[in-house]
Structure formats: C-alpha cells, structure tokens
C-alpha cells in the first residue's frame, strides 16, 4: 500500500514545475496523453500516471521506471493535452532529476539507451560533430552487441551513407570550455538545491 504524506510542500512537484515550465497540478487525468503516446505501451508508468506520481511526490518510483527514458519527445501528447501541459518537458525534468539523483531503472535496455546518449555527447565533446558510423560502432561495441545491424552496415557504407572520415570543428578548445562551464553550472544548481534542502530541514 502507498502511504501518502502531507503534500502541502511537495518539493518534487515544485522542482518539476520549475524545470518544465508547466504546472503539473493542471493535469486532470483525462488520459489523452496515454492514448496518444506511441510508446506508452512500452512504459512501466504511463504519462498520465507519471503526472499523478509527481502530485504524490513519489520521485523514487518514477526514477526507477523506464517511462521518462522511453519518451521520444515527439510532442504529440502536448499538442493534444486539453490542459496545455508540456508533457515531454515534464518527462525531461523528471529524467534530469533522476540523473542528478543518480538513480537508473534496473534494466539493460535503459542502460543501453543511456550509454547511447553518453557516447553521443562524448563524441560531440571530442569532435564538435557527430558521426553515425562511429556512433553505431562504438555503441554496439560498448553494449556488447557486436553483430547488431551488421547486415545494414556494409550496405550503408557501400551506399556512402556512413562515412569513415571524421572532421573536427576548429574551435575545439572553446567547445571543451563550453562543456566544462555547463557541467559547473549543473553542479552549482544541484549544490544550491541541496543547500536549500538542508536549510528547510
């Protein structure tokens, strides 16, 4: 049974609202998002339920679910939401909080999705640009699925779809700095948040 605490000060809700720019309290559970979402069938907690969990301040439950990682940010839901909630950005907010809290769903799928994004970003960091082939290769290697899409690769390469050449951007230094500074920003925000948390406690 889920035991509900006094929700007068729902920190989780406040954070999500602040990050997403929408007010989750507007949700009246009509379910149009679920019926819209192309992947809601794959989600452990459907978008409609996500909204409710946020209202109930059940952050861990959400962090541990695959839902926010499966969101494709296709925005079909927000285009149809009668209460004009930017659901993808709510999902994003929850995901970011999960990353900050460093809680991942215990599923290889999610791990591989996250891996993919990590590789992606690290590549940008290294080259300033992205190369599908290297991305695919690196991803498959790191996730130990050496032969995934092996059928596609040669054909794709043959058709010049996937290139071996890799151009770098000139101002890589600047880009590195950009990465570092943003990292700092993120951590600063977290620290201040934690600080405020301690104060409130």
């Amino acid at each position: 049974m889920l035991v509900l605490k006094n929700l007068q000060h729902n920190e989780f809700l406040e954070k999500v609202n602040q990050k997403s720019g929408s007010n989750v309290l507007n949700c009246y559970q009509c379910g149009k998002c679920v019926s819209t979402c192309p992947v809601s069938g794959y989600m452990e907690i459907t978008p409609r339920q996500v909204m409710q969990y946020i209202k109930l301040a059940e952050d861990e439950k959400l962090f541990a679910a695959n839902s926010t990682w499966y969101c494709l940010t296709c925005s079909s839901c927000s285009a149809r939401c009668p209460r004009e909630i930017e659901i993808p950005r709510v999902m994003e907010a929850v995901r970011h909080l999960a990353i900050e809290a460093n809680i991942l769903p215990d599923s290889s799928k999610i791990k591989s999705i996250k891996k993919f994004h990590d590789i992606f970003i690290s590549m940008i960091k290294r080259y300033g640009k992205m190369f599908e082939l290297r991305l695919m290769a690196e991803f498959n290697l790191r996730t130990g699925q050496f032969f995934k899409d092996i059928a596609l690769a040669p054909k794709a390469i043959g058709k010049g779809k996937l290139k071996f050449k890799s151009e770098k951007i000139k101002n890589l230094k600047g880009l590195k700095r950009l990465f570092e500074m943003n990292q700092k920003l993120e951590s600063e925000i977290q620290n201040t948040e934690n600080a405020s948390k301690h104060e409130s406690k």
Binding site: K32, V34, G41, R48, P82, E84
Partner: protein, 657 residues
C-alpha cells in the same frame, strides 16, 4: 441655527465595553450645533426609538445623528423612526461606531473612544448639510418584452400572459420552438420533445395576452425600468402572414432546393419554407438569398399557386416601436464548432458527426425518419463511439467550463441508438459522469446496464479512416491501457456556447456579459435571474448552460419578477440620485460618457429668463440614475449634484475632523 440630536448606543456590551460612551456624549455636547445628546443601551429597541422620536419633537431637532452599528444595518430602522416623528427620514446620519470602532479597536479604549467622537463629529457636521429628500416614483408600462422563442422564452411569455399582462414575444427565426424543437426525446424520462413542446408553442401563439413576432429582431432599447421603448425589426418574409393559411401549396411547388439548416444540412428544404412541420406560426417565409424570383426575377411560382395572394415580392423590412415595462432575455445558446479537433478528422470524415446532428437523425421527424445512418454511405451503424467533453473542459482547443448537459444527452443517445438499432453497440468515452439532477444518476445507470453499452474513462487521441471503418484510438484509464475501436459512426458531444451575437445584444440592452459571452446575472446566488439593469431579466441558456427543467424554472422565475415589478402602478425609487443645477451647467457634456446608465441627455434652455437664444445643458433622468455620483465628480462647474452625497455634505464631513 441647526439643532442636531445625537443618540449614542451601547449596543449592550458591544460598544459599551470598548468605547467610553458617557465620555463620548460629554465630548459631543461641546459641539455647538448639538442641541441634545443622549446614550442608551439599545437604540434600535422600541424604547430607544421612542426617545429619538420624543427628542425630535421636544427639542425641535433639524437633524438626527445615531451613533451605533453600521448604517448598512439599521439606517432604514432609524429613518422610519424619524418619519414617525414627522421628520424627513433623510435628515438622519448614522455614525458607525461599532463595526468601525468598538469592534476593531478592542485593545485600546482611549483610541476607540477618540475615534468614536470623531466619527460622530463628522456625522453631525454632515447632517447639518442634509436636505429633505422625497422618494421618487415613476409610472410603469405594463407590457413585457420576451426576446427569444425557445422553451425558456415561451414559458416566460405564457406565465406573464397568464397574469393578464400583455407580452410581446420576439423570435428571429421563422418559427418559435428553439433548440428543444430539434430534440427527439428528452432525459431523464424519454418523453418526446415535440409532444410536450408543441402544445406550449400553440398556446403561446394563440394566447390573448401574447403578441407573437417571429422572423423579427429587437434592434434598440431606450429608457429605464418600467418605461422602456423597444424598436423591433420585422424582417421581410415576402409572405403576408394575415392572408396566408399555411396550406403549403407554395413550398410543395417551389423548385429551389436548399440545404436544411434545421437538420444541419441533412436533407433539403425549399426557398419558401417553414423550418419544420410543426412550425408555429405555420406560415412560410421566403429565403431571399436562394429564391430565384428575388435574386434573378425569374420563377414566381409560389405567387401563382397561392390562392390567397399572400406572396408579396415587394415586401421590405419594417421597424415597429413598442412601449415596454420589462424585458426577459431568453436568446438561448449555440453549439461549439469542433473543427479545432483535427486529430478527430472533423470535416475530413463524413461519419464523425456532432450530437445534435445525431439527435436530428434519430428524431422521428428528422431527415432519416428516425433511423441513424452513416452519412458517408447511408448504412446503419452497428458500432457507435460517443465522445464527451468536445470543446468543454478543454482550455487548449475549446472553453474551460463544463457544458453540463452532455453527460445526460449522451446517455440518452446511447439508449435511443439501442432502441432504434437493437444489434448496435455503443462505446462512450468520458472523463467524469456528471448526473446531478432529479432521476439523472438512475438514468445514466439504465443507459449503462440496460443497453449493455461500454463506458470507458479517458479521452480519445485520434480517429482515422481504415477502409470503411473509423479507427478510434483512446485510453481506458481503468486498466491504464491504450484501446482501439473499429467504429461505424462517431458522435461528438460538442460544447454549449453563447450565441455569437450575445455581446452585441448585451451592449444593445445595456447589460453585462462574461468572458465567454454568457449574459451576467446581478448576483450569482441571490439574484440569479436579474441583470444589473433594473427591469431586465434572464432566462435559459443565454446566461449559462442549462437543461430543460432549469431553463423552464428560470423562465418562470423571471416571469414572477416581471409580475412583481408590475404589481404597483408606480415604481418607488431611492431619492439619492443626481440632479443638475442648470444655472451652473456649462454644457460641456463630460458627464454623459461618465454615466454608466446613459441617464444623462441634454436639453436646450434660454440663456436667461425670457431670452430666445438657447444654450445646451445636461439633463439627468432620475428614473434611470442609480446614484453612483460619477457625473458629480467629473463635473467642472459643480452643476451635477448627488442628493444625500452633495459636495457640501462630504466636504463638511472631511473638515469636521
């Protein structure tokens, strides 16, 4: 020399405990205009009032100040006392030393006392400037104007007329009956709308006290409560109603076919037509846009076939003027256009229809004689999906309010479908079921159980064509899963919205309306049928979404209000209204736009007595004036004056400190 009497009340302990009353009296006695000051436990009690009356006579008082509770509480009481002592009641001033002193400064008796003294001093000073005022009384024209011939309008008209008060019932379409005439059966009893409606329509048309004006519109309302002047435009019908017998020869012979708007374009009507079979009056009008005789001058068949010679192509609009005492507005509602729901393919898929289109289909007198069909191929639908809250409760695409009746009529549609097509099945997508009326919840239960229909909680996200079927994609929130239905027909319960021209009407009548365009009542709870304009009342859906019982009861309520208004031959009115000192008036006319009630006009007066040269000055209609004083504050030459709150009175109050 003014002789003011001051009466300070202890109000038991309410004032006595926190204000040093004897001290107050002692202070007040120092004011030289104060002839008599006296304190008493309960001034509002009989003995209290008696002391006031006696003092008035004994001390020949010129004005009276009662220091007690808020004037909003007992001003009337004490005014009566003055009257009974033969004194003009408006020579009274009340100093509010309870709500404004003893109750709000309970911790500081000295300050409270001091304040009480000041408040009384101010009242005394003002009362000296008070003048004798006399209740205004205006005559009443005992004729009511009812705008709109739907069920609300008809009900109001009948109730008023039954009290032997003449009623002018104005309807802009060719027949009365309104929306209700379009309905098949009505919830929660499933009695046939026509059967209960038609008798009332006939009564209204034949009632000796009702003057029915169809195909007409109210275009102007002048004047004030009890004394309105209404201008009504009678649109050219090209048919002499007095001559026409409604035999129908004309519309049978008319060659021009037009989409039937009464059935939402399902089926055709002629260019000369009555909107529906039971129309009242049962006399046709010619639709000037489509009639070839009026557009091209060709045809003229109806004229030939009409034995009574009732057709008159030369007819023009005429404006009729009537004196009116009160107005009941019952202009009804419109339906929200669901086009913004692109995801439902509204407009792209023929078989996605609105609730009222479905209503016409299943109604016996409708285009398909009561058989529901798929507009695309005319086949009888077996699987029908009903979607609720289309436009309602949807800030993004529609409006944020609940349309109130959709839950009920959808349940009704489910039943009607089941009755007409036994092997059909209904799916209903809902967010909440709102069945808060007598017998409503039971009705919904019947719809769910007796017809074995499937109610699904959730909103549909997408509808698309696959072969002949419509794929309806939604969520069943109970099981928390996406569901898909292969439907033959989809019915959208689209929202109730105000008539498009409701704001125009409101401005013309001088009443207010809300952000949606619904006409506003004077008070949401205690004055639900009145408007802020005296003598103008509301009935039915022009004020907010309502079902039939509510519309009818509000109509009767409005009728009762009209009767109450007409009960006396003259209307009494608070004399605290504005007047113009014409000798001061410069004729700048700044006051005219300042008046919220349009009570101010101008008049020409001689520059000086006997002179022929005229000048323009403001003229205030005390019947219309509500006494806000905007004109007074805006007047540069202090010509406008608000009785009871004159500049002198307020100024004296200000400087009395």
């Amino acid at each position: 020399m003014a002789r003011v009497g001051v009466f300070v009340c202890y109000c038991g302990a309410n004032i006595g405990d926190y204000v040093d009353v004897p001290k107050v009296v002692e202070e007040i006695k120092k004011i030289k205009e104060v002839r008599f000051a006296f304190d008493y436990k309960y001034m509002c009690s009989d003995p209290g009032q008696t002391t006031i009356k006696d003092a008035i006579i004994r001390e020949k008082l010129t004005s009276v100040v009662v220091a007690a509770c808020s004037p909003r509480m007992h001003e009337k009481t004490f005014r009566k006392a003055l009257l009974e002592a033969g004194m003009n009641p408006y020579l009274l001033e009340v100093a509010n030393i309870r709500e404004h002193s003893s109750w709000v400064h309970q911790k500081d008796k000295v300050a409270a006392t001091k304040k009480a003294v000041d408040l009384i001093r101010m009242a005394v000073s003002k009362s000296i400037a008070n003048q004798q005022l006399h209740e205004i009384s205006v005559p009443v024209t005992k004729r009511a104007l009812v705008i709109g011939g739907g069920i609300a309008g008809i009900q109001a008209a009948l109730d008023i007329a039954d009290a032997h008060i003449p009623v002018l019932l104005v309807e802009r379409s060719p027949s009365i009956g309104g929306r209700m005439a379009q309905l098949d059966e009505t919830f929660p009893t499933l009695d046939c709308s026509q059967c209960i409606m038609t008798p009332k329509m006939v009564d209204a048309a034949s009632h000796p006290f009702i003057e029915l004006m169809t195909y007409s519109e109210v275009i102007e309302l002048q004047g004030f409560v009890g004394n309105y002047k209404a201008k009504i435009k009678r649109k050219a019908s090209y048919v002499k109603f007095d001559a026409c017998t409604g035999c129908g020869a004309c519309w049978q012979k008319c060659p021009v076919k037009v989409d039937n708007e009464f059935n939402f374009g399902q089926g055709k009507r002629k260019a000369i037509y009555t909107p529906f079979a039971q129309a009242v009056p049962n006399k046709p009008v010619i639709d000037a846009i489509h009639c070839t005789m009026l557009t091209k001058g060709k045809c003229g068949i109806c004229e030939k076939v009409c034995e009574k010679g009732a057709i008159d192509y030369k007819m023009t609009d005429e404006v009729i003027e009537r004196e009116i005492g009160a107005v009941v507005v019952a202009t009804g509602y419109d339906l929200w256009d669901p086009k913004p729901y692109e995801e439902y393919g509204v407009g792209r898929y023929k078989d996605v229809i609105t609730s009222l289109e479905f209503e016409r289909m299943v109604s016996a007198g409708g285009p398909t004689n009561g058989l529901p069909i798929r507009p695309s191929d005319g086949e009888v639908p077996k699987t029908v999906v009903f979607l609720k809250c289309i436009g309602s409760r949807d800030e993004s695409k529609g409006i944020s309010y609940c349309s109130k009746i959709c839950c009920m009529y959808t349940a009704k549609h489910v039943m009607l479908l089941h009755h007409k097509v036994h092997d059909s099945h209904s799916f209903v997508f809902y967010m909440d079921i709102r069945a808060n009326g007598k017998g409503y919840e039971e009705f919904v239960k019947r719809a769910q159980v007796d017809t074995a229909s499937t109610y699904l909680r959730g909103r549909v996200s997408k509808i698309y064509q696959k072969g002949k079927k419509l794929i309806v994609q939604g969520e069943d929130a109970q099981i928390g899963q996406q569901v898909q239905i292969e439907a033959d027909l989809v019915v959208l319960a689209n929202a109730i919205v105000p008539q498009k021209d409701a704001p125009e009407l409101a401005r013309m009548l001088g009443i207010s309306y809300d952000r949606y365009g619904f006409l506003s009542e004077a008070h949401p709870k205690l004055r639900p049928v009145e408007t802020t304009k005296a003598g103008v009342y509301l009935a039915g859906c022009c004020q907010a979404p309502k079902d039939i019982p509510e519309s009818v009861s509000q109509a009767s309520a409005a009728a009762a209000k009209v009767m109450g208004l007409f009960a006396s031959d003259r209307l009494k009115k608070d004399p605290m209204v504005s007047t113009v000192l014409i000798e001061n008036c410069s004729g700048c006319q700044n006051c005219i736009p300042a008046c919220p009630y349009g009570a101010i006009t101008t008049e020409e007066i001689p520059i000086m007595r006997g002179s022929k040269d005229l000048r323009t000055v403001a003229k205030i209609n005390e019947g219309v004036c509500q006494g806000c004083g905007s004109c007074v504050a805006i007047c540069r030459s202090s010509a406008a004056m608000l009785s009871g709150y004159t500049d002198l009175q307020l100024m004296k109050e200000v400087i009395a400190l």
